[in-house]
Symmetry: C2
Subunit: 116 residues, 2 copies
Protein backbone atom coordinates (compact mmCIF):
# COMPACT_ATOMS: atom_id res chain seq x y z
CA UNK A 1 0.00 0.00 0.00
CA UNK A 2 2.34 2.69 1.18
CA UNK A 3 5.56 3.31 -0.68
CA UNK A 4 8.71 2.07 1.07
CA UNK A 5 10.12 5.59 0.93
CA UNK A 6 7.15 6.77 3.00
CA UNK A 7 8.18 4.65 5.96
CA UNK A 8 11.88 5.34 5.51
CA UNK A 9 11.53 9.11 5.49
CA UNK A 10 8.88 9.10 8.21
CA UNK A 11 11.19 7.07 10.42
CA UNK A 12 14.01 9.55 9.80
CA UNK A 13 11.81 12.55 10.56
CA UNK A 14 12.07 12.08 14.31
CA UNK A 15 15.17 13.38 16.15
CA UNK A 16 15.03 10.63 18.77
CA UNK A 17 15.08 7.99 16.05
CA UNK A 18 17.94 9.68 14.20
CA UNK A 19 19.84 9.83 17.46
CA UNK A 20 19.25 6.12 17.99
CA UNK A 21 20.62 5.37 14.53
CA UNK A 22 23.71 7.43 15.33
CA UNK A 23 24.20 5.48 18.54
CA UNK A 24 23.89 2.19 16.68
CA UNK A 25 26.59 3.31 14.26
CA UNK A 26 29.12 2.62 17.00
CA UNK A 27 27.88 -0.76 18.09
CA UNK A 28 24.88 -3.04 18.50
CA UNK A 29 22.89 -2.26 21.63
CA UNK A 30 20.22 -3.72 23.86
CA UNK A 31 16.90 -1.89 24.08
CA UNK A 32 17.48 -0.78 27.66
CA UNK A 33 20.89 0.61 26.80
CA UNK A 34 19.47 2.47 23.81
CA UNK A 35 16.89 4.05 26.10
CA UNK A 36 19.37 5.02 28.81
CA UNK A 37 20.50 8.45 27.50
CA UNK A 38 16.94 9.60 26.82
CA UNK A 39 14.60 11.10 29.35
CA UNK A 40 11.57 9.44 27.78
CA UNK A 41 10.15 6.16 29.00
CA UNK A 42 11.45 2.77 27.96
CA UNK A 43 8.13 1.99 26.32
CA UNK A 44 8.45 5.06 24.11
CA UNK A 45 11.93 4.02 23.00
CA UNK A 46 10.66 0.52 22.37
CA UNK A 47 8.06 1.99 20.02
CA UNK A 48 10.70 4.08 18.25
CA UNK A 49 12.77 0.95 17.73
CA UNK A 50 9.73 -0.79 16.28
CA UNK A 51 9.26 2.06 13.83
CA UNK A 52 12.91 1.82 12.80
CA UNK A 53 12.62 -1.95 12.42
CA UNK A 54 9.45 -1.62 10.32
CA UNK A 55 11.35 0.76 8.06
CA UNK A 56 14.16 -1.78 7.81
CA UNK A 57 16.64 0.70 9.23
CA UNK A 58 17.52 -1.62 12.09
CA UNK A 59 17.12 -5.30 12.83
CA UNK A 60 16.34 -6.75 16.22
CA UNK A 61 17.42 -10.15 17.45
CA UNK A 62 16.36 -11.53 20.81
CA UNK A 63 19.10 -13.49 22.55
CA UNK A 64 18.07 -14.63 25.97
CA UNK A 65 16.06 -11.91 27.58
CA UNK A 66 17.83 -9.04 25.87
CA UNK A 67 16.91 -7.86 22.40
CA UNK A 68 19.85 -6.62 20.39
CA UNK A 69 19.42 -3.77 17.94
CA UNK A 70 21.62 -3.59 14.86
CA UNK A 71 21.91 -0.83 12.31
CA UNK A 72 20.90 -1.83 8.78
CA UNK A 73 22.26 0.98 6.61
CA UNK A 74 21.22 -0.74 3.40
CA UNK A 75 17.68 0.51 3.91
CA UNK A 76 18.96 4.04 3.44
CA UNK A 77 20.30 3.33 0.00
CA UNK A 78 16.99 3.67 -1.84
CA UNK A 79 16.25 6.93 -0.11
CA UNK A 80 19.75 8.16 -0.79
CA UNK A 81 19.46 7.38 -4.48
CA UNK A 82 16.13 9.17 -4.60
CA UNK A 83 17.54 12.28 -2.99
CA UNK A 84 20.71 12.38 -5.03
CA UNK A 85 18.58 12.47 -8.15
CA UNK A 86 17.65 16.04 -7.30
CA UNK A 87 21.07 17.48 -7.47
CA UNK A 88 24.72 16.83 -7.95
CA UNK A 89 25.45 16.43 -4.27
CA UNK A 90 28.99 16.10 -3.19
CA UNK A 91 30.19 12.55 -2.64
CA UNK A 92 30.35 11.00 0.80
CA UNK A 93 31.58 13.66 3.20
CA UNK A 94 32.31 11.96 6.48
CA UNK A 95 33.56 15.16 8.06
CA UNK A 96 30.23 16.85 7.46
CA UNK A 97 28.54 13.81 8.91
CA UNK A 98 30.65 13.90 12.04
CA UNK A 99 29.73 17.54 12.49
CA UNK A 100 26.08 16.60 12.23
CA UNK A 101 26.41 13.95 14.88
CA UNK A 102 28.19 16.38 17.17
CA UNK A 103 25.45 18.96 16.77
CA UNK A 104 22.82 16.29 17.28
CA UNK A 105 24.38 15.34 20.57
CA UNK A 106 24.37 18.97 21.60
CA UNK A 107 20.83 19.78 20.50
CA UNK A 108 18.57 16.80 20.15
CA UNK A 109 18.67 15.21 23.55
CA UNK A 110 16.70 16.73 26.38
CA UNK A 111 18.93 18.87 28.50
CA UNK A 112 19.04 16.09 31.07
CA UNK A 113 21.21 13.03 30.83
CA UNK A 114 23.29 14.15 27.90
CA UNK A 115 26.19 11.72 27.72
CA UNK A 116 29.68 13.14 27.80
Amino acid sequence: MTHPLDTTFAALADPTRRMILSMLLEDDMAVTDVAAPFSTSLAAISKHLQVLADAGLISQEKRGRVKWCKLEPDALRAASVWMQGFGQFEPVDLDAFERFLASDLANDLDDTDVPA
Copy 2:
Protein backbone atom coordinates in the same frame (compact mmCIF):
# COMPACT_ATOMS: atom_id res chain seq x y z
CA MET B 1 12.99 24.24 18.31
CA THR B 2 12.73 21.38 15.86
CA HIS B 3 15.79 20.26 13.97
CA PRO B 4 15.84 21.24 10.28
CA LEU B 5 16.17 17.57 9.35
CA ASP B 6 12.85 16.91 11.08
CA THR B 7 10.97 19.09 8.63
CA THR B 8 12.99 17.94 5.64
CA PHE B 9 12.39 14.25 6.22
CA ALA B 10 8.78 14.78 7.28
CA ALA B 11 8.14 16.67 4.06
CA LEU B 12 9.69 13.83 2.05
CA ALA B 13 7.64 11.18 3.84
CA ASP B 14 4.52 11.90 1.79
CA PRO B 15 4.20 10.36 -1.69
CA THR B 16 2.18 13.29 -3.02
CA ARG B 17 4.90 15.70 -1.98
CA ARG B 18 7.65 13.54 -3.47
CA MET B 19 5.66 13.41 -6.67
CA ILE B 20 5.37 17.19 -6.68
CA LEU B 21 9.13 17.50 -6.28
CA SER B 22 9.63 15.15 -9.22
CA MET B 23 7.28 17.26 -11.32
CA LEU B 24 9.17 20.42 -10.42
CA LEU B 25 12.40 18.80 -11.55
CA GLU B 26 11.27 19.36 -15.11
CA ASP B 27 10.16 22.93 -14.78
CA ASP B 28 8.69 25.59 -12.51
CA MET B 29 4.93 25.28 -12.22
CA ALA B 30 1.90 27.21 -11.04
CA VAL B 31 -0.09 25.82 -8.11
CA THR B 32 -3.07 24.91 -10.27
CA ASP B 33 -0.88 23.05 -12.73
CA VAL B 34 0.82 21.17 -9.92
CA ALA B 35 -2.57 20.09 -8.64
CA ALA B 36 -3.90 19.01 -12.04
CA PRO B 37 -2.66 15.38 -12.14
CA PHE B 38 -3.86 14.64 -8.61
CA SER B 39 -7.36 13.62 -7.66
CA THR B 40 -7.20 15.53 -4.38
CA SER B 41 -8.53 19.03 -3.97
CA LEU B 42 -6.59 22.13 -4.89
CA ALA B 43 -6.61 23.23 -1.27
CA ALA B 44 -4.91 20.00 -0.23
CA ILE B 45 -2.17 20.51 -2.82
CA SER B 46 -1.78 24.10 -1.68
CA LYS B 47 -1.14 22.80 1.83
CA HIS B 48 1.39 20.28 0.54
CA LEU B 49 3.21 23.07 -1.26
CA GLN B 50 3.27 25.07 1.96
CA VAL B 51 4.86 22.13 3.76
CA LEU B 52 7.48 21.82 1.03
CA ALA B 53 8.15 25.55 1.19
CA ASP B 54 8.47 25.48 4.98
CA ALA B 55 11.03 22.72 4.59
CA GLY B 56 12.90 24.86 2.06
CA LEU B 57 12.50 22.21 -0.60
CA ILE B 58 10.70 24.61 -2.91
CA SER B 59 10.31 28.36 -3.17
CA GLN B 60 7.14 30.13 -4.20
CA GLU B 61 7.01 33.45 -6.01
CA LYS B 62 3.75 35.18 -6.79
CA ARG B 63 3.77 36.88 -10.16
CA GLY B 64 0.46 38.41 -11.00
CA ARG B 65 -2.24 36.12 -9.77
CA VAL B 66 -0.31 32.93 -10.24
CA LYS B 67 2.17 31.61 -7.69
CA TRP B 68 5.13 29.87 -9.26
CA CYS B 69 6.72 26.93 -7.52
CA LYS B 70 10.42 26.26 -7.97
CA LEU B 71 12.46 23.30 -6.81
CA GLU B 72 15.20 24.16 -4.31
CA PRO B 73 17.40 21.07 -4.28
CA ASP B 74 19.92 22.65 -1.91
CA ALA B 75 17.65 21.84 1.00
CA LEU B 76 18.20 18.17 0.28
CA ARG B 77 21.94 18.44 0.64
CA ALA B 78 22.00 18.41 4.44
CA ALA B 79 19.72 15.40 4.55
CA SER B 80 21.78 13.68 1.88
CA VAL B 81 24.99 14.24 3.82
CA TRP B 82 23.36 12.86 6.95
CA MET B 83 22.21 9.72 5.19
CA GLN B 84 25.45 9.10 3.38
CA GLY B 85 27.20 9.02 6.72
CA PHE B 86 25.57 5.67 7.38
CA GLY B 87 27.10 3.78 4.53
CA GLN B 88 29.27 3.90 1.50
CA PHE B 89 26.45 4.51 -0.91
CA GLU B 90 27.14 4.46 -4.55
CA PRO B 91 27.67 7.84 -6.18
CA VAL B 92 24.87 9.62 -7.99
CA ASP B 93 23.04 7.02 -10.03
CA LEU B 94 20.71 8.87 -12.35
CA ASP B 95 19.48 5.67 -13.95
CA ALA B 96 18.27 4.39 -10.61
CA PHE B 97 16.62 7.73 -10.01
CA GLU B 98 14.80 7.60 -13.33
CA ARG B 99 13.53 4.16 -12.43
CA PHE B 100 12.23 5.55 -9.17
CA LEU B 101 10.40 8.32 -10.92
CA ALA B 102 8.88 5.86 -13.35
CA SER B 103 7.65 3.63 -10.56
CA ASP B 104 6.33 6.66 -8.72
CA LEU B 105 4.31 7.63 -11.73
CA ALA B 106 2.93 4.12 -11.93
CA ASN B 107 2.15 3.65 -8.26
CA ASP B 108 1.81 6.86 -6.31
CA LEU B 109 -0.93 8.68 -8.14
CA ASP B 110 -4.49 7.66 -7.57
CA ASP B 111 -5.70 5.42 -10.34
CA THR B 112 -7.54 8.34 -11.86
CA ASP B 113 -5.96 11.01 -13.98
CA VAL B 114 -2.56 9.41 -14.35
CA PRO B 115 -0.79 11.43 -17.03
CA ALA B 116 0.55 9.53 -20.02
